[in-house]
């Protein structure tokens, strides 16, 4: 089993049982206790758990705000977390940034702690999460709430973006394809993303590895519209080659600890 799969399994157990035990987990996954402790360190850093003697418990506050902030783990949750960490490293003090909706962009928000930045977003969950974080100024655009999500959409989003300029914009996409470019779910999403592209110094696409080779409903543009792409190391080599040869910076997270 891969380290990431194991982490996701541990999270599942945590959600179900609220607490885990190191010895028990090491037997379940047949790995050493050292490995499990290291996994738990990671989950603690990510804010999922509080470590206890011989194990860990699920962090209650995470659970309480889970309805807004932490929807149940979807595909590639750990990979999205890693993307969030690396993408946040690209943000410098004093930057104004745009964060689009989506789990991956919310992971960026989680890793902005300690930076002095202005964040413009059309995701109320991002606004909610960052509202009390020191040093971060948050601007939430207006707009219509998309049912069953925290994203804002429609003409009010465009109005909210009017006359704003950001150094870096992070947009997550549904599909990344060598021939078909970046794709999104809806026409509204494309209009917003295109507007964001106009107001951004650097347009950065974030997409976990499962998005590669996939195609969404509607096309945003060629792969060349991105100034940089933040993703995972597992993406096919042909994409790595394409981005490098087309002058697009490709950042991938490598968890070395």
């Amino acid at each position: 089993m891969f380290a990431i799969e194991r982490l996701n399994k541990i999270k599942e157990i945590l959600y179900k049982e609220k607490r885990v035990d190191v010895v028990d987990l090491s037997e379940r996954f047949s790995v050493t206790e050292v490995t499990i402790r290291r996994d738990l360190d990671k989950l603690e850093q990510a804010g999922f758990i509080v470590k206890t003697y011989g194990g860990a418990v699920l962090k209650e506050e995470v659970e309480s705000s889970a309805s807004v902030w932490m929807e149940p783990d979807d595909e590639a949750a750990e990979e999205k977390r890693m993307i969030g960490k690396i993408a946040a490293e690209l943000v410098e003090n004093g930057d104004a940034i745009f964060l689009g909706p989506g789990r991956t962009c919310r992971e960026i928000a989680r890793h902005l702690k300690g930076k002095r930045v202005t964040v413009v977003t059309n995701d109320i969950a991002v606004g909610f999460y960052l509202k009390d974080v020191n040093g971060i100024k948050v601007i939430v655009t207006g707009g219509d709430l998309v049912p069953a999500s925290s994203a804002l959409t429609g003409g009010l989003v465009l109005q909210g973006l009017k006359d704003i300029f950001v150094n870096k914009a992070f947009i997550s996409v549904r599909g990344v394809h060598l021939d078909l470019g970046f794709t999104l779910d809806s026409h509204d999403d494309v209009i917003i993303a295109q507007e964001v592209q106009k107001i951004a110094g650097q347009f950065i696409v974030v997409a976990d590895y499962t998005k590669f080779g996939r195609v969404g409903f509607i096309r945003l543009g060629d792969l060349s519209i991105a100034g940089a792409v933040v993703t995972n190391k597992q993406i096919p080599a042909e994409y790595k080659k394409h981005f490098f040869e087309n002058e697009i910076k490709l950042f991938t997270a490598f968890d070395l600890k």
Binding site: E89, A237, K240, F244, K249, F251
Partner: protein, 497 residues
């Protein structure tokens, strides 16, 4: 004049990498034809094809108008092509004549047996030595000769094999001023004899002094071919450098922290002179230079493979006036060597063995190697670095990119703080290349520091916070990120002051 040598549309691929992409070249008798280009431009591959070391995938080679197929070095020799390599390939414990005539000694018939005619061998060798104004006896042992004199013996050897085309690869490397002078007069002598010389060099001043024609290679293609007379050196540098693609590199601005290593006034054996620099947390410092700049020697001295040195290395809060590889390692220094170097990998060993080699204590218990533990740690790193190999796979069978990652894994396993990384991406596929840059980012984010020794100028410009340019064992220039250009680096690297 009719061309003695013609290479037409030569293509050579190594796996995914196209080293030569339709190279054509023509040389006349008595011509010194310089072939220049950055490292990786394809110069050595082209010369190795001529010398029969590599066989081209496409294209044609013509000698005196006739198509030839050069399948191996012996055939090249029979066709009158000789190669003078950068490193001396003489038998040190034999004398000059024995080296010149080795494996093809002049024979005399004696009652039906072929017996080596040593009188003739010595006579001929002495004649050559005299003709080139070398005051040496053909009976002198090669090991008693200077480096430059040995180079001349190699040229004499080539001539005695009736070579009509001599390839010289960076012939002036490690030669003294006087010896270079002598080499040039020897080359002029060869020209008068109608011998064609292909002169591979980085040193532009030399090209102006000795070449008749210049071919510039870049990324496996000929980008320029012109007469050497009256040539503008700046123009050549520009042709060599090509467009600057440093925007594609995933450089991450990492906060620069405290100093991790400082080298002060380091000199070594008359080769390295007064080297000083420092490395900080989160910083990548580039080190570049042409062959003969001794940049590799520097990394070996820093890691304790070569010594003793003068000056000091400050590392991990301690000051070293001498250092062993063990001490270097114990104090958080590591040396990620280039692929295919003797210090790199045990190519017959498995991936797991190679990875855990640098830190056996971590996988041992009471002094016994725990192979289960070894496998677990190795497998973990294999996943983290996306090596996509089995930990039991033999390293020698892996691609260049994977081998390089195994070298990285080997050091990550030992928790190094300062990494000397040699040619991080030479000879590996683009996908692995991008991976390696991102692995370096991750190391920097964790507070490590990297000394990146590279001859890939785009990579240096793209990834480094600072670039140091070495020439003849000295640091000639230091550029801050943003100050350097390919042209400026090449200028100082090829001896500019």
């Amino acid at each position: 004049m009719e061309a003695v040598l013609e290479m037409r549309h030569i293509v050579k691929r190594f796996g995914e990498i196209t080293a030569l992409d339709g190279v054509s070249l023509a040389a006349e008798p008595g011509q010194v034809h310089a072939i220049i280009g950055e490292n990786g431009a394809g110069k050595s591959t082209l010369m190795r094809i001529l010398a029969g070391v590599h066989v081209p995938d496409e294209g044609e080679i013509r000698l005196n108008g006739e198509t030839v197929a050069i399948q191996n070095p012996k055939q090249a020799q029979d066709l009158g092509i000789a190669m003078i390599h950068q490193e001396i390939k003489l038998f040190q414990d034999l004398n000059i004549a024995e080296n010149v005539f080795i494996r093809r000694e002049p024979l005399k018939g004696w009652r039906g047996l072929h017996v080596i005619d040593w009188t003739k061998a010595y006579r001929e060798t002495d004649r050559y030595l005299r003709e080139f104004g070398l005051d040496l006896s053909s009976r002198r042992l090669v090991q008693s000769l200077s480096y430059g004199q040995q180079k001349f013996v190699e040229i004499i050897k080539a001539l005695s094999q009736q070579a009509r085309i001599i390839v010289m690869d960076e012939p002036t490397t490690a030669l003294t001023e006087q010896e270079i002078h002598k080499l040039f007069s020897l080359i002029r002598d060869l020209k008068r004899r109608g011998v064609t010389i292909l002169y591979v060099s980085h040193r532009l001043e030399e090209i102006r002094a000795i070449a008749d024609k210049v071919t510039v290679l870049r990324d496996g293609k000929v980008v320029r071919c012109c007469d050497a007379a009256g040539i503008d050196l700046n123009e050549l540098v520009l042709a060599m450098a090509g467009k600057d693609f440093h925007k594609r590199y995933p450089k991450m601005k990492v906060k620069i922290g405290k100093e991790l290593m400082r080298v002060e006034g380091l000199s070594y054996g008359g080769i390295l002179r007064d080297i000083s620099f420092s490395l900080h947390q989160g910083e990548i410092v580039g080190l570049t230079g042409i062959s003969g700049s001794e940049r590799r020697t520097l990394s070996k001295v820093l890691f304790g493979i070569h010594g003793p040195f003068e000056g000091a290395i400050h590392l991990n809060g301690k000051t070293f006036r001498a250092i062993t590889p063990h001490e270097a390692k114990a104090n958080g220094l590591c040396y990620v060597t280039g692929i295919g170097t003797e210090e790199g990998l045990i190519s017959g060993g498995t991936v797991a063995e190679n990875i855990t080699l640098t830190n056996l204590e971590r996988v041992s218990r009471f002094g016994f190697l725990n192979s289960e533990k070894e496998a677990e740690f190795a497998q973990d790193l294999i996943e983290r670095l996306e090596i996509t190999a089995d930990n039991r796979e033999i390293v020698g069978n892996l691609s260049g990119g994977k081998q390089k990652k195994v070298i990285f894994a080997k050091w990550l396993f030992s928790n190094a703080k300062v990494l000397i990384i040699e040619e991080p991406t030479a000879g590996i596929d683009v996908g692995s290349k991008v991976d390696i840059y991102n692995i370096m980012n991750e190391l920097l984010l964790e507070g490590a520091s990297i000394l990146m020794i590279s001859s890939d100028l785009s990579e240096l410009l793209g990834m480094c916070d600072k670039i140091m340019v070495m020439c003849d064992g000295e640091i000639r220039q230091v550029f801050q990120r943003g100050e350097a250009t390919k042209e400026r680096i090449l200028y100082y690297a090829s001896g500019g002051k």
